[in-house]
């Protein structure tokens, strides 16, 4: 591989930052829902693992 060909202006580069936002947004929402719905008792048990 040679990284030596850099010409003309990059077109449609906005897709990169935009897709990164969408990916993060979706991921974050799914995670929030998952955490929200997780079982309270189980969570409390897990949080005590270091102390047992």
């Amino acid at each position: 591989m040679k990284f030596l060909h850099y010409l003309e202006k990059i077109t449609g580069v906005s897709i990169y930052p935009l897709s990164s936002f969408v990916i993060f947004g979706l991921f974050f929402l799914v995670m929030l829902v998952w955490v929200w719905r997780s079982d309270k008792k189980k969570i409390a048990d897990i949080s005590r693992i270091p102390l047992d």
Binding site: M31, S38, P50
Partner: protein
């Protein structure tokens, strides 16, 4: 249910703890030494290995990879066994890991002092050591996952998630950033050039902070803070959100190290936005830590361990608030290249990493030796010395950074630059002196700790194998045994794969456009490859670590253009393997140094900088005047460059030395005109050739 008896391996933890203390002191001593060189340049001893440019990488590598590295391993080996309710997967692998890592540290120290460096910050180690790091890291990984798989605890506590993410991301960062073309046993060139090299390097550099100095330590916080406070973490749900948001966002923020440089604008903006978002998960983690102590603040008053943790977590919060602020372009315009950044990283290094390490050591050692701490009072004194040390270290540097940036940007009413560069340096020397006093206090505190812990160890008796018992895991899933068993075994792997996907998406989307689209870096036809002599000179520049004090990147600001010349273009760096943009201006920028001074100026300046600029704090480089250039390496260097696409004519490797001698001789003659007698093969001649080339290509129109 039958409980099983087993033993935790404390011996490996003990040795990692010893290594933590040893390398901590070594790294801090190196730091103090380089701090003193700022106001007493004579303390470089005019000896190459103890000169700032070589000692500073030793300091950073020792503190990051030796001190914090061993802290991570000691904490992981202690907590992982207990969180999984099992002994480590393999004692043999633990010891290979231990000796492998210490061997790497020793090799790193020796090669860095001898001037073998790739010239990329925090990734200076040469390729054989890079390979050794990869192997030892794999051993560590097998040992972690083996332990997780044979665990007796159904659930993976959040600390383990942080360990897994750390392992997988550090592996990815190290491999991607270490692509290099070997020239000889201890010399290589970065595979990437210029802008791409900078982007990869700061994607690595930023995430080394994230995944070596932050995530593993957060994992340790989630284990040791609840232990020391004897209560569960404030919100376990918050810790899950903290984990995923942190590792997802961190990986994108690297370009904030390159604001206003020749990096394409879209990449800079991406870095800024994600950096701002990073406040949320970072503060979520900090608050989770601090809130764990709600209602238990009386314990903090008596218990030095908790004192250390509270200040550590607070420093984490301060540094992670400051980070996003520094990523704002208007703040960055002032802070970048100044001592502000040094203050910022030491809030993290001394406060967050150091105090976490101290707290863990004070907590763990009395337990492993089954005896109370020798002196709580001494530990409290250490805490105060350390805290005051951090304040006296950082405040003057914030002041220095701010002052210097404003001086750089000052113009007279007539529109001239108000201050010479050197004036802005000499002005802040009192701050440098104060900083080293703060560092000394911090170091004295650490020495008190070593004494205190040695005394504790002396009066205790070490429990090499700590007995424990727990029910085996398979028994729990009696109904759907097969299903449960397989499901649980798969989960750490799922976590591993998920973390890898999450961090790889960030890395790829950030870098792919800069590599694959032909476009990002406009070529400039007048930019030509370095001549053989300049290439050799550039290697000397890299070897002596000039980039630790000099940038080669002029930002498009009025003052920088007035001071240094036309701002830097991406296309100017296409043959720079590695890039040498630097990150700190202790000395002036050198991007357009070529032709500014006569050859003889550089000769005398290297012999003793204070002859040419009285008051300069640059070290003496007198050995460059005596040492001879190794011209035998020229063909191999040219060949390596050609393999990476630098357009030398085919077969040039064989005739390169002829051109080298011709150019060297012309510099010899030019020096002789100014009554300086030097052989054409002296190293200084090659360095002068390189310095005189810098930034000239786009001037020659």
């Amino acid at each position: 249910m039958q409980v099983e008896k087993f033993y935790y391996d404390n011996k490996i933890v003990k040795w990692f703890a010893y290594a933590t203390m040893l390398w901590g002191i070594v790294g801090m001593l190196a730091g103090l030494w380089v701090a003193i060189q700022f106001y007493a340049p004579g303390s470089s001893l005019s000896f190459a290995p103890t000169t700032f440019g070589r000692l500073r990488p030793l300091h950073t590598n020792a503190v990051i990879f030796a001190f914090v590295g061993n802290t991570i391993f000691m904490g992981v080996y202690y907590s992982l066994q207990r969180l999984c309710k099992t002994r480590m997967f393999s004692d043999k692998l633990s010891w290979i890991h231990f000796f492998g890592w210490q061997g790497i540290i020793v090799a790193a120290a020796l090669t860095l002092l001898a001037g073998h460096t790739t010239g990329k910050e925090y990734a200076e180690l040469e390729w054989p050591i890079d390979i050794a790091i990869t192997l030892v890291w794999v051993v560590f990984g097998i040992n972690i996952f083996g332990t997780i798989i044979k665990r007796r605890e159904k659930h993976l506590y959040v600390a383990i998630w942080f360990y897994i993410a750390t392992w997988v991301t550090v592996a990815m960062l190290h491999i991607v950033n270490s692509f290099e073309m070997p020239v000889s046993f201890l010399k290589s060139y970065s595979w990437y050039a210029g802008v791409q090299d900078a982007l990869v390097q700061w994607w690595y550099g930023h995430n080394a902070v994230a995944f070596f100095l932050t995530t593993p330590i957060l994992g340790l916080m989630y284990y040791f803070l609840p232990k020391a406070a004897n209560r569960p973490i404030y919100s376990y749900k918050l810790s899950i959100i903290h984990f995923w948001a942190l590792i997802f966002i961190y990986i994108w923020a690297g370009p904030h190290h390159l604001l206003y440089t020749a990096l394409p604008d879209w990449a800079q903006s991406l870095g800024v936005v994600f950096s701002i978002m990073l406040i949320a998960p970072s503060w979520g983690g900090m608050l989770n830590g601090l809130f764990t102590l709600r209602g238990a603040w009386d314990k903090v008053r008596e218990e030095p361990v908790l004192k250390f943790f509270v200040v550590a977590v607070t420093c984490y919060g301060m540094a992670t608030f400051e980070g996003p602020m520094l990523a704002l372009k208007n703040v960055n315009a002032i802070a970048h290249y100044t001592d502000w950044i040094i203050a910022h990283v030491h809030i993290g290094g001394l406060g967050w990493n150091g105090f976490m390490a101290f707290g863990i050591l004070y907590w763990m050692i009395p337990r492993m030796w089954d005896t109370p701490l020798y002196s709580k009072k001494l530990a409290t004194n250490h805490f105060w010395l350390g805290t005051i040390g951090i304040v006296i270290y950082t405040l003057p540097l914030y002041w220095a950074g701010f002052t210097q940036a404003l001086m750089w940007k000052s113009f007279t009413d007539e529109g001239q630059l108000k201050f010479q560069f050197l004036e802005t340096v000499t002005h802040i020397i009192p701050m440098y002196i104060t900083r080293s006093i703060g560092g000394t206090l911090y170091l004295i505190g650490a020495l008190l700790m070593v004494y205190n812990l040695a005394k504790t160890i002396g009066k205790g008796s070490f429990i090499a194998n700590e007995a424990a018992e727990a029910a085996p895991l398979v028994k729990e899933a009696s109904v759907k045994r097969e299903y449960w068993h397989r499901w649980i075994e798969r989960r750490p792997m799922t976590l591993l794969v998920m973390s890898l996907i999450v961090v790889a998406i960030g890395g790829a989307l950030e870098m792919v456009p800069a590599f694959l689209i032909k476009s990002n870096i406009p070529t400039i036809s007048s930019v030509k490859p370095y001549t053989p002599l300049e290439l050799q000179g550039r290697d000397i520049y890299v070897r002596e670590g000039c980039y630790t004090c000099h940038s080669q990147m002029i930002r498009p600001f009025r003052d920088e253009v007035a001071r240094y010349g036309e701002y830097s273009k991406a296309g100017e760096f296409v043959y720079d393997h590695p890039f040498q943009w630097g990150s700190k201006r202790t000395g002036p920028d050198l991007a357009r140094e070529g032709g500014k001074y006569p050859d003889s100026w550089h000769y005398n300046h290297m012999m003793d900088p204070r002859i040419m600029s009285p008051g300069s704090i640059m070290p003496v480089y007198s050995w460059l005047l005596d040492d001879r250039l190794d011209t035998a390496s020229t063909p191999a260097k040219i060949r390596a460059m050609m393999k990476m696409g630098v357009p030398y004519v085919p077969g040039y490797d064989l005739t390169a030395n002829k051109d080298l001698m011709t150019q060297a001789d012309s510099i010899r003659v030019s020096l002789a005109k100014d009554k300086i007698k030097t052989p054409a093969t002296a190293e200084i001649v090659a360095l002068i050739a390189y310095l005189q080339r810098l930034g000239k290509d786009i001037k020659a129109k």
